[in-house]
């Protein structure tokens, strides 16, 4: 991959809030194709990093550049950057049809409404209010809306939160199908999820990047016994922490030192 060939690149991005450093000179990039998992325990700075990348928050230092022409997030071409945010809701009283129609209107794409409803298999529940959809149905709808503009970069912040195992599996399969079409960056604190679909990882702990790059390359460079354990070994090696058998990173402290 050429050095300038990326869907997103963060250079020395620092974010401070009330004297606390949430991101400390973060540098990493996202490949233009494939799935990059942003790994870290709760409070590691994943959502802050994604907010900066999406242009929802300006960094105190450093820069974010998107796509080949290196535009800032707020100048990204319409629909090229899309997302499902952490615990994202919807207009409570809207129906699924109205929700899809809103995005269709905004992107001047009348066919988008039906395409979204078909894509998330909610055609028969189009008149159901979004706050009465199940968590899995709502996430399917949001993902279908996010994909409807055929974005070059899709960002997902812990998209499987609060989903049951079946809905979680279905969503991961849906993401896996995007690998060859676009860049997908998804934040998670579940190593098993990352191991199933990620081509590359960014490991973030305490606001600093501990490792990033293609999974295969990073794992190949690991010493034994870490290499045998794939992403889990990679994470343990990068953070010098012990992973819970479930793969959840919740118990790790932000300040775990390598």
């Amino acid at each position: 991959m050429a050095p300038d060939h990326f869907a997103a690149r963060l250079d020395a991005v620092t974010v401070r809030v009330d004297g606390h450093t949430l991101l400390d000179s973060v540098t990493c990039s996202v490949s233009p194709r494939g799935i990059t998992a942003l790994l870290g325990p709760n409070g590691a700075g994943k959502s802050t990093l994604l907010s900066v990348l999406l242009g929802l928050r300006e960094p105190d230092a450093g820069s974010v550049r998107l796509f080949e022409d290196g535009v800032a997030p707020r100048d990204a071409p319409r629909g090229s950057l899309s997302a499902v945010l952490q615990d994202e809701g919807a207009f409570e009283g809207m129906t699924a049809h109205e929700y899809a129609a809103l995005f269709a209107a905004l992107f001047s794409d009348r066919a988008m409404t039906e395409r979204v409803l078909a894509d998330c298999a909610l055609g028969d529940r189009r008149h159901t209010r979004v706050d009465r959809l199940s968590g899995g149905e709502l996430r399917r709808l949001q993902l279908a809306v996010a994909l409807a503009t055929d974005p070059a970069l899709l960002v997902l912040d812990e998209p499987t939160n609060h989903l049951d195992p079946a809905a979680r599996r279905a969503l991961l399969e849906r993401l896996r199908a995007q690998k060859t079409r676009r860049a997908v960056l998804f934040a998670t604190h579940d190593l098993h999820e990352a191991a199933r679909i990620a081509d590359a990882v960014v490991i973030l702990v305490g606001g600093t990047v501990r490792a990033h790059g293609p999974v295969a390359d990073l794992v190949r460079a690991l010493p034994e016994p870490f290499a045998q354990r794939g992403i889990e070994g990679l994470f343990e090696h990068a953070t010098r922490s012990t992973i819970d058998p479930t793969g959840a990173l919740d118990a790790l402290s932000d300040g775990a030192e390598p």
């Binding site: 242009g55 929802l56 615990d87 994202e88 809701g89 919807a90 207009f91 409570e92 009283g93 809103l102």
Partner: protein
Amino acid sequence: MSKTMVLAQLHAFWVLARARVAETARERSAVAFLLGFPALLLLSLALVFAEGHPYERRAVALDCANVAARAALAREPDALSIYPLDAREGRRALDEARVELRVVCDARSSQQATVWIEHGPRARLSAVAVRALFVMDGLDAQLRPVPVAKGAYARGLLPGAIAFGALFSGLYGLGLPMLRLRRRRVLARLTLTPLRATTLVLSQLSARAALTVGQSLVMLAVGALLFHRAPSASAVLCVVAAVLLGVLAFAGIGLALASVIEQEDTHGDLLAASATPMVLLSGAFFPVRELPSALATIAELLPSTALVDACRAALDPSLRGLAAPLAILALWAIASIGLGVHRFDLRRS
């Protein structure tokens, strides 16, 4: 902005506004509260105040520059509440039974001037008692009966009830929902689309205004049934104009406050705290001119006072006195919405 972009914004405006109205229409409890509650409120007021205000002291509207006549009335400060009101306001107050009597005279011939005491059918005894005060001072005082319909006091509360409906609808109808959308990260998601903040705010505002106008029309219809006085078409249009401007002004205030106070609970408390003085000083419960001069000046500039005045003037057959409160409301609407849109950050999460 390109033509495509403008059309996209207009389409999104329509989808958002229609969905917001539909959201209310789908909820039976919301419809009942929006339309049924005001009707019940008016019915209750009509029943409770059918015979006028039961606890109020005798209230007199004074339109009189005669020093001797004013001095005669002033001898009974504990028995009478005296409100200096000009001819138009005094007649309206008497017509709505907010005062029992209206004292009219001029100062041109001092002692020789005739003092007229206008009174409704139920206030003849009060009028006789007040006439005695003038006669004791050697003034020529005459009674002048005027028609005051039964239920006039309750009818006089109708403009205030419509105004307060618009006040609370606006105040709570935009800022608080926007904070809720921010908490649910809907606003952050929408910033990744071409949606403009102005489109979002105007769509929510329009939906809220449409619902409140519907509420006001229901109140006018119920008022016409209860008080046997149907408003003219021009009165209805003027009420709608006042309500629209009132909703815009108060929604703008709610949004401007939401840009400063971002916690929903605190924001709700602040709205309640700011609504209380605005309601009390609105002129719905006592004439604003009765207040100390500095406070009266402040009260007259409040959007709540302008809204109550505009609704009263709109329901007055002459429509006089409508322009000034509408202008004050328009200024409040422009300033508060402008400030709210400018300060409320959609991207913030």
